[in-house]
C-alpha cells in the first residue's frame, strides 16, 4: 500500500511537456490559478486539452491528478471511501480529496459523462468557498491556495440530456480549444511525429478537409492527435496511403460511403 507521498510523486510532472500555444491560454490559466479560480476547457477531442493541463501542471510545479469521468462515477469515487483491510474499516482518500489536501491540480476529463449528482460535489470547491465537505468523516477540508480544479468537455456532440448545469458552468473560467491554425498544427505534427514539415502540412490539409464534413455525416473531423499517429507510422516506414487509412480514416467513421470519400481525398493529396 503506497503512502500518500508516493502516490503524489507519481503525479508530478518533471519533464517539460511540448505544448505550442495558440493564443493567450497559458496566461489566462496562470492568472486563474493565482486568483484561485477553477478552469473549464472546452473543445473537440485531440486538440490539446490534456497536453495543456500537463504543461500547466509542470509550469506550476504541482502534481496533476486526472480523473476520467464516466456514467458510473460516484461521489465516493471522487471523494473517497472506507475500505476493509484485515477486518478493519480504513478511510482512503479519493483523487479529489488527495488533490485538495496536497494543493495539487485536479483535472476532471469529460465531465459531462459523469452523472449530475456526482458533478455537484465539486461545487463548493469551484466557488469562493474552496472547501470540500467529507460527510463520512465529518470533516470540512479547506483547499490551500495552490489547489486548482479543472474540468474539460467536448461541446461538439452533446445531447440535450448530457449537458453541464448552469449552476455548474457558471463557476468556471472557460477556455475554448480548437484545432490550431494550419501552420501551428503542422509544426506540432512535425515536432511530435518527426515527419518533414512538407508532409505535416499535407496531413494538416487533409485534416482540414475532413473537418468540413459535418453535413455529410461526419460528426467530428480528424483531430491533431490522429495526424500525429499517422505521422508516427510514416516515420516508421509505413507507406503514406496505408498510414492515412489506418491511423486517420478508419478511426473516423464506419460508413462505407464516407470512408470511400475520405479515401478519395487521400489519393488526391498523396
Amino acid at each position: 500500500m503506497k503512502t500518500v507521498e508516493q502516490r503524489l510523486e507519481e503525479h508530478l510532472i518533471t519533464e517539460k511537456p511540448y505544448y505550442l500555444a495558440s493564443g493567450k491560454e497559458i496566461e489566462i490559466a496562470l492568472s486563474a490559478h493565482k486568483n484561485g479560480l477553477p478552469l473549464l476547457l472546452k473543445g473537440p477531442t485531440g486538440c490539446g486539452k490534456t497536453r495543456f493541463m500537463q504543461f500547466l501542471a509542470w509550469k506550476l510545479q504541482r502534481p496533476l491528478i486526472t480523473v476520467s469521468c464516466h456514467d458510473d462515477l460516484s461521489t465516493s469515487d471522487l471523494v473517497g471511501r472506507f475500505l476493509i483491510r484485515s477486518g478493519e474499516a480504513v478511510w482512503t482518500d479519493g483523487p479529489l480529496t488527495l488533490a485538495v489536501r496536497a494543493g495539487a491540480i485536479c483535472y476532471l476529463d469529460e465531465i459531462v459523462e459523469a452523472r449530475k449528482d456526482t458533478t455537484v460535489v465539486i461545487h463548493p470547491l469551484a466557488d469562493d468557498r474552496r472547501e470540500l465537505p467529507i460527510e463520512k468523516l465529518g470533516e470540512l477540508l479547506s483547499a490551500p491556495p495552490e489547489f486548482m480544479i479543472c474540468v474539460s468537455y467536448n461541446p461538439g456532440y452533446q445531447s440535450v440530456l448530457k449537458d453541464l448545469k448552469p449552476s455548474t458552468r457558471q463557476r468556471f473560467v472557460a477556455i475554448s480549444f480548437n484545432y490550431p491554425a494550419p501552420e501551428l498544427e503542422a509544426e506540432i505534427v512535425c515536432r511530435e511525429s518527426g515527419v518533414s514539415k512538407k508532409l505535416a502540412s499535407s496531413l494538416v490539409k487533409l485534416a482540414g478537409m475532413t473537418r468540413s464534413l459535418k453535413e455529410s455525416g461526419l460528426a467530428e473531423g480528424a483531430s491533431t492527435r490522429l495526424l500525429i499517429q499517422t505521422g508516427l507510422l510514416v516515420e516508421d516506414g509505413i507507406d503514406i496511403h496505408t498510414a492515412c487509412r489506418t491511423a486517420l480514416i478508419e478511426p473516423l467513421s464506419d460508413d462505407p460511403e464516407l470512408l470511400a470519400a475520405l479515401e478519395e481525398m487521400v489519393s488526391s493529396i498523396f
Binding site: 472506507f82 476493509i84 489519393s267 488526391s268
Partner: protein
C-alpha cells in the same frame, strides 16, 4: 404452349381489363414455339407490368423474341424493374427506348464495363468535394460540364474510357477541376482596380461584359478559359499532387492531341503536355516571366484578363472566322450567366440570414440602446423603416490600410448615427459576405433595422396570433411494389401540415370524465419511472453494507467462514425510450372512433408527462399518392403545452389511409433519435386503403414493407386497432405479437396507457 391456352391465361392475368383479342394473339404468337417453362416464366411477368402500363406490357411481349436473344430468363425480372423505373420517371417513350435499343448497353453495365453513371459515384464524390472545398457544393447531372459556383454539373454517364476505374478518375478530376475554378476566383465579379472604366451600376457580371466587349466574344472567352484552366491545373498540382499524378498517368495520355491547326489548341494543350515541354509551350504564348508566375501560382484571374486582351490581338491578326475549339472533358465550359444567377440566389439567401442575425442582435440590446437607435420618441421612424442614409457599415478606417489588416479590421455599424456593436458571429458572417460578394447591400441592414423595430412594436402591442402555416414541408417517399419486388422511387408526396388549434373545452372535459382513471394511471406510470435502488450484500459496491459487515465479523469470531459480500451497490434502471404515435385520421374514424382516439391521446399524454419518456404525436391521412398528409400534433422534443392540447382537440376525420409514407417518415424521425428503445405505435381503425390502386394486397404489402424497414432500423412498430377483421392481415403486417385488437371503441382510452405500460417495461 398453344396459342389458345396462352390467350386464356393472358386474359385471366389481366382481368378485369379486356384488351383487344387481335392484339393479344398477335403478341403472344411468337411464344407458341417456346417450351412451356419459358411461357410460364413470361406469363408470370405480366401482372407486374400490366397494372403500370398496358402499352408497355404489349411492347414487352412484342420485343420478347429479340430480348431473349440477349438476356437469360433469370435476368428478365431485374430488367423489367429498371424499365418500369424509367417509365415512372421519364415516361413511356424513354421506357420503350430502353427496352428496344439499350439492351446492349444494359448488358455491358451488368458486366461492370461500358460506362459509369453519375448516380453511382455521387455518394462517394459528394462528401469528397464538400470536404475538399470546405463548403456545401452540390453535384447535378447535365449534358454539359460546368459550374455555377453553387453546384458542379457533370454528365449523367461517362464512358470515355473502356474501364470504369478510369471513368471514375475522370469524374473525380472533372469535379475537382471545376472546384479549382471557384477556388482560384476565375469567375470575377468585380472590375480590376486599376482599370479605368465607366462605373457601372451592376458590377456583378463584369467578366461577361468584358468578354462581350470584344468583336469575337467566343474567341476572347476561349482564350480566358484556356488561361484559367492552365492556372487551375498548376494550382491543383501544388495542392492535390496525388490527383494530378494519377491524371497524368491514366487520363492525359488518352486525350487526343487536337488538330493543332488552330493556335489556341496549342495553348490548350499545355494542360496535358509533358512536364518538360509545358513551360516552353506556355512561354511561347504569354512570355517567359508570365509563364513562371502561372507555374508557381503567383498569377491571378486578373492576370488572365490582361493576357486575354494581349493574346486576342495576336490571334485575330491572322484568322478570320473563329470556330470555337473543343475543351478537354475536365475543363468544361464557362457559363457566366449561370454563375451570375447562382450568385444572386446565394446573395439573397445570405442577405436574409444576415438580416435575421442582425435583427436578433438588435433586439438583444438593452432598451436604452434601442431607444437611442430608433429614437423612440419619434415613433414614426420605426414604422417607416429607416432610410438607407441612416445606416452605414464601414470598416474602421485605421485598419483598412493594408490588405492583411483588412482581415482583422473590426466592422462598425451605425444606425441613425449611433454606433451599434456587433457580436463576433455577426461580424465574421458579414466579413464572409463581403469577401464573397464584394459589398453588403445596405438594404439588408435596413431590413434588419426595420424588422427589429417592427418586432419591438409588436411586443408593445400584446401577443398577436400568428397565422399558422398550412404546409410546412413536402417529402418524397418510395413505395414498395410487391409484384415486382422493387421500389417505385419517390412515388408518394408526403405533405407535413399543421393543425389549426381550436380552443375548446375538449381537454378539460376529457380529464374530468376520466378523472379517476387519470389518477390511477399517473400512479402506475410514476412507478415505472427511473428507479434507483440500493442492492445490498454485493461483492463490490459504492459503500459498505454495515449489517453484512457486522455479521461477517461475528462470523469470523465464531469460527465460521465469513462472507465477502459486504458492499452496497446503486442499481439504476434507466428508461431511455422514444415513441411516436401515428393516429389514423381517415374518414372512417368519424364519430365515436375519432372521439375515443382523441380521448386516449389526452390520457396517454398526461401519463407520458409523468413518465418522462420522449414522445411525439402525428395524425395521418390524405388522398392519392400525390397528397399524403401528416399532421403535426406534437414533435418529439416539443413540451406538452396548451398548443399541443389544442391540436389534439382539433384532430378530425379527414380522408383515406395510405399507411406507407407516415410509417416511413416516422422511421426517418426516429433514426436520428438517441434512445435505447424506439417505438412507433399506430392507432388505426382498419386496413390501409387509398383512393387510387392502393388497396387490398398491394397496400398490405407496402405497409408491411415499411414496417420491415422500421425494424431494420432497430425501431419497434406496434399497432392498436379496432377493426374486427384485424386478425387476417395484422398478423401478416405487424407480426403476431405486435398488434392488439380492441373490440370496443369506448375501451380505447382505458386500454392504450395499459398497453404502453406493458410494451415498455
Amino acid at each position: 404452349m398453344k396459342l389458345a391456352l396462352l390467350t386464356e391465361r393472358f386474359y385471366d392475368l389481366v382481368a378485369p381489363d379486356i384488351p383487344n383479342e387481335w392484339d393479344v394473339e398477335e403478341v403472344l404468337d411468337p411464344l407458341v414455339d417456346e417450351p412451356d417453362s419459358v411461357c410460364e416464366a413470361i406469363l408470370g411477368h405480366i401482372p407486374v407490368i400490366w397494372p403500370v402500363s398496358h402499352s408497355l406490357c404489349f411492347d414487352f411481349l412484342r420485343l420478347l423474341p429479340e430480348t431473349l436473344q440477349h438476356l437469360q430468363l433469370e435476368q428478365i425480372p431485374r430488367w423489367i424493374g429498371i424499365t418500369l423505373d424509367h417509365y415512372e420517371t421519364d415516361g413511356l417513350r424513354t421506357a420503350q427506348r430502353f427496352m428496344q435499343d439499350d439492351i446492349q448497353n444494359y448488358l455491358l453495365k451488368l458486366a461492370g464495363s461500358g460506362g459509369l453513371t453519375l448516380s453511382s459515384v455521387e455518394k462517394k464524390l459528394l462528401p469528397y468535394i464538400r470536404g475538399v472545398a470546405e463548403r456545401d457544393l452540390n453535384i447535378s447531372p447535365a449534358r454539359q460540364i460546368y459550374t455555377d459556383t453553387s453546384s458542379i454539373y457533370m454528365p449523367e454517364e461517362l464512358n470515355f474510357f473502356s474501364n470504369n476505374k478510369d471513368n471514375f478518375l475522370l469524374y473525380k478530376l472533372t469535379l475537382t477541376f471545376q472546384w479549382g475554378f471557384i477556388n482560384r476566383g476565375s469567375f470575377i465579379n468585380r472590375p480590376p482596380v486599376n482599370l479605368i472604366q465607366p462605373q457601372k451600376d451592376d458590377d456583378s457580371n463584369w467578366l461577361s461584359s468584358f468578354i462581350e466587349s470584344f468583336d469575337e466574344p467566343l474567341l476572347a472567352r476561349d482564350i480566358y478559359h484556356s488561361l484559367e484552366s492552365i492556372r487551375v491545373r498548376f494550382f491543383l498540382e501544388q495542392d492535390l499532387p496525388g490527383l494530378i499524378r494519377a491524371a497524368k498517368k491514366q487520363i492525359f495520355p488518352s486525350l487526343s492531341v487536337r488538330n493543332t491547326h488552330h493556335p489556341l489548341n496549342r495553348l490548350q494543350h499545355v494542360l496535358i503536355a509533358e512536364d518538360n515541354v509545358l513551360h516552353k509551350q506556355l512561354g511561347a504564348f504569354i512570355g517567359e516571366s508570365n509563364a513562371e508566375n502561372y507555374l508557381l501560382g503567383y498569377a491571378s484571374a486578373y492576370d488572365s484578363v490582361t493576357l486575354t486582351t494581349a493574346l486576342y490581338k495576336k490571334l485575330t491578326k491572322d484568322l478570320t472566322d473563329y470556330i470555337p475549339i473543343e475543351p478537354y472533358p475536365f475543363q468544361g465550359v464557362l457559363k457566366l450567366q449561370a454563375v451570375a444567377t447562382a450568385r444572386n440566389i446565394r446573395e439573397q439567401k445570405m442577405g436574409e440570414q444576415f438580416t435575421d442575425l442582425m435583427a436578433a442582435h438588435l433586439l438583444s440590446l438593452s432598451k436604452d440602446e434601442l431607444k437611442d437607435i430608433f429614437q423612440e420618441d419619434k415613433r414614426d421612424s420605426a414604422n417607416r423603416g429607416l432610410a438607407e442614409s441612416d445606416i452605414t457599415m464601414i470598416m474602421d478606417s485605421e485598419f483598412a490600410q493594408t490588405a492583411d489588416m483588412e482581415k482583422e479590421a473590426p466592422l462598425l455599424v451605425t444606425i441613425n448615427n449611433e454606433e451599434v456593436e456587433m457580436p463576433e458571429e455577426l461580424e465574421s458572417f458579414s466579413k464572409n459576405f463581403l469577401d464573397e460578394f464584394g459589398h453588403l447591400p445596405v438594404q439588408f441592414l435596413s431590413a434588419a433595422a426595420g424588422k427589429a423595430g417592427q418586432e419591438m412594436l409588436e411586443h408593445a402591442v400584446s401577443g398577436i396570433n400568428e397565422a399558422m402555416p398550412v404546409i410546412t414541408d413536402t417529402l418524397l417517399y418510395d413505395e414498395w411494389d410487391y409484384r415486382r419486388q422493387g421500389y417505385r422511387k419517390n412515388w408518394c408526396s408526403l405533405h407535413l401540415k399543421e393543425l389549426k388549434p381550436i380552443r375548446s373545452s375538449f381537454i378539460q372535459n376529457t380529464l374530468k370524465t376520466y378523472h379517476g382513471l387519470t389518477t390511477r394511471l399517473r400512479h402506475q406510470f410514476e412507478m415505472m419511472r427511473n428507479q434507483e435502488r440500493f442492492v445490498k450484500r454485493q461483492r463490490e459496491g459504492d459503500d459498505i453494507d454495515f449489517d453484512a459487515l457486522v455479521e461477517s465479523i461475528s462470523d469470523s469470531r465464531a469460527g465460521i467462514a465469513s462472507s465477502d459480500r459486504l458492499f452496497i451497490r446503486l442499481k439504476r434502471d434507466n428508461r431511455d425510450i422514444a415513441v411516436l404515435f401515428l393516429v389514423d385520421m381517415s374518414n372512417s374514424t368519424a364519430g365515436w372512433v375519432n372521439n375515443a382516439l382523441k380521448e386516449s391521446l389526452v390520457l396517454m399524454a398526461e401519463a407520458m408527462e409523468v413518465l418522462g419518456d420522449r414522445y411525439g404525436i402525428y395524425g395521418f391521412s390524405g388522398m392519392r399518392r400525390s397528397r399524403c398528409e401528416l399532421f403535426h400534433v406534437k414533435h418529439l422534443t416539443e413540451p406538452y403545452g396548451d398548443a399541443v392540447k389544442e391540436r389534439i382537440g382539433s384532430i378530425a376525420p379527414s380522408e383515406y389511409t395510405r399507411m406507407g409514407p407516415p410509417i416511413r417518415h416516422a422511421t426517418e424521425l426516429l433514426k436520428d433519435v438517441d434512445a435505447k428503445v424506439r417505438i412507433i405505435i399506430t392507432l388505426t381503425d382498419g386496413k390501409p386503403e387509398d383512393y387510387d390502386d392502393y388497396k387490398g394486397e398491394y397496400a398490405i404489402e407496402d405497409t408491411r414493407h415499411a414496417l420491415l424497414e422500421a425494424k431494420t432500423a432497430d425501431i419497434h412498430p406496434f399497432c392498436i386497432t379496432i377493426d374486427h377483421q384485424a386478425r387476417d392481415y395484422m398478423q401478416h403486417m405487424y407480426g403476431p405479437a405486435n398488434y392488439i385488437f380492441i373490440d370496443n371503441v369506448r375501451k380505447l382510452p382505458l386500454r392504450i396507457p395499459e398497453i404502453y405500460r406493458v410494451l415498455t417495461s
